[in-house]
């Protein structure tokens, strides 16, 4: 459904945040994009949504296809209208607007009737959001804000939903509520999901395929169960070995050296 081919992103025409990234999200799937701080995950989502310009960033090479059509270079609005919606990192609610106004904004590209219908659906999905609908969004708890952020994206009627670290800073019970909602949407409505996470444990449980990104490059990809079983992933992302966090690149380097020596 969505395919990135050899994407390179530069900020300020000089800082290379993403290099030669190719990834694919098949329709109906949940695909995870994993990596530690500063790896380039959010940059990839911003590139897909067409909002890099806000930070002086630019796709300098490569192309993004949605169902075979190139969408890189289109306006954020056009990309949304293709059904590509993003729940940005840190939730990015309109803090001074009420919860319901935030949701209504999510339906900005949709008709009045569609917006009303979708609003009901979001309130059914997250009853907590319904309870808080008249409150100022900035004063909600982190978990409630995340629900509103997801609800706001759902208001735009996504076919593909991109979530940027939805579990960040949230209590485990809230994370469960949120992931159940996402899994439910995927299961019941066939919503395709691109899930960005640092929490690999969680992400590899819910996804069918995963990509691991480091320093702006994809260093490993594969079926989720394969990645879960992979020793290096276990050691560096699932925290089994417990030792100091090295990077995947160090591992490769080390392996190469090992081969060399043996």
């Amino acid at each position: 459904m969505l395919a990135l081919n050899n994407i390179q992103v530069l900020y300020d025409k000089s800082i290379e945040a993403v290099r030669d990234v190719s990834l694919e999200v098949p329709a109906g799937a949940i695909v995870a994009l994993l990596g530690s701080n500063g790896a380039g995950k959010s940059t990839i989502l911003k590139a897909i949504s067409g909002v890099l310009g806000q930070e002086d960033g630019e796709i300098t090479s490569g192309v993004i296809h949605l169902e075979g059509n190139a969408i890189s270079g289109e306006t954020p609005r056009a990309i949304i209208q293709h059904g590509l919606l993003q729940v940005p990192e840190g939730r990015a609610l309109f803090a001074t607007l009420t919860v319901e106004e935030n949701l209504l904004m999510g339906g900005f590209t949709r008709t009045r009737a569609e917006t009303a219908e979708e609003l009901e659906r979001v309130y059914t999905l997250f009853p907590r959001v319904h309870e808080r609908r008249t409150q100022t969004a900035g004063y909600l708890s982190g978990g409630e804000q995340q629900m509103v952020a997801i609800g706001r994206a759902l208001m735009g009627r996504p076919r593909l939903l991109m979530l940027d670290e939805p579990s960040l800073g949230l209590a485990p019970q809230i994370v469960d509520v949120i992931f159940e909602a996402i899994l439910g949407l995927n299961h019941n409505t066939g919503l395709t999901v691109l899930l960005v996470e640092q929490n690999a444990q969680l992400a590899l449980q819910v996804s069918s395929y995963g990509y691991i990104i480091e320093n702006g490059r994809i260093v490993l990809d594969g079926k989720a169960e394969k990645l879960r079983a992979n020793d290096d992933v276990q050691e560096f992302y699932l925290g089994f070995a417990g030792g100091a966090r090295k990077s995947m690149r160090d591992v490769k380097h080390y392996k190469r050296r090992k081969r060399w020596l043996s």
Binding site: S49, V51, G53, Q54, D56, T75, P76, R77, I80, Q81, L85, Q86, P88, A92, L93, F94, A95, T96, L97, E101, N102, L104, M105, G106, F108, T109, R152, A153, G156
Partner: protein
């Protein structure tokens, strides 16, 4: 007692003019983060345009307003497109400097077209004095205060309930998130300029009708700054109230403290506000986009 009532009523009248002009500032600042130093010049220009329309078409007050507002909004749209849009992505400071340049251009253009001699301009209103509760008013004074009330109500309804009004507040709250919901930030910026020019026209027309139509109307823009700062830069209704308060303070201090206070009272208020409550009475606390 009569003296006090007179000071209050004239204070509210000039305060209503400040309030209208301040609302124009706040609207553009709120949605674009730019202090438009040409706001006073847009007030001046649209007042002259209203004057020419009134002379050409012999319109009475209400039709004159209804014709002038859309023309002024169009002017706002054009000014934004020519002077501000090309600067998109430049530092805010550079854009503010562009508005200073725009101000100078509008001032000279107005003098080139209409000359520097003042005109009497009744804006299609009668000049017969009306007594309200024993206090004499000119119709122009009453219209000015009524206009402030109507514009405040209209803008409040717009920002609170309309799709684009909510979008305008959303852009002010988080521009990138607004883009991610499909709002065109450019459109919202253009809309802010249109609306603030429309409000400027109401202010200019009524200010000229109350005093005189002269090129120095632009100075009312600067004189409205205390109102914007008191109201809190990004609060449109706060700006209106700030205007009324400044108008009252100016007139009362002029009446009771002494001649000349009118000119400086507002700026004393600015300094006090900036020291005590820099985000104004109604502004949001975390104003970081100056």
């Amino acid at each position: 007692m009569d003296f006090l009532m007179l000071l209050i009523s004239t204070g509210l009248v000039s305060g209503a003019a400040y309030g209208l002009i301040a609302m124009g500032f706040a609207l553009v600042y709120k949605s674009t983060g730019v202090v438009n130093f040409a706001q006073g010049e847009i007030v001046m220009l649209t007042a002259y345009i209203a004057f020419s329309i009134a002379n050409g078409l012999h319109l009475s007050f209400v039709p004159l307003v209804l014709v002038t507002i859309p023309i002024s909004m169009l002017i706002g749209l054009v000014l934004e497109r020519i002077f501000i849009r090309p600067m998109l992505g430049e530092p805010v400071f550079a854009i503010v400097m562009a508005t200073v340049g725009l101000a100078v251009i509008l001032r000279s253009a107005t003098i080139m077209i209409w000359g520097s001699e003042p005109f009497n301009f009744t804006a299609g209103m009668s000049t017969a004095v009306i007594k309200l509760g024993g206090i004499p008013f000119y119709p122009a004074q009453l219209y000015l205060m009524a206009a402030l009330g109507m514009v405040v109500l209209a803008i409040w309804l717009f920002l609170r309930f309309s799709r684009y009004g909510i979008a305008m507040r959303a852009v002010a709250a988080n521009e990138t998130a607004a883009l991610l919901t499909g709002v065109s930030v450019n459109q919202v910026h253009a809309l802010a300029w249109m609306l603030s020019s429309g409000i400027a026209a109401v202010a200019g027309l009524l200010f000229a009708a109350n005093f005189k139509l002269a090129p120095d109307i632009w100075f009312q823009g600067l004189k409205s700054f205390p109102a914007v700062i008191l109201g809190g830069m990004d609060s449109v209704t706060g700006a209106a109230l700030g205007g009324l308060i400044i108008g009252l303070i100016e007139n009362l201090s002029q009446g009771y403290i002494g001649e000349g206070m009118r000119e400086i009272a507002g700026f004393i208020v600015i300094i006090l506000v900036l020291m005590i409550r820099p985000y104004g009475l109604f502004g949001s606390r975390d104003i970081e986009r100056v």
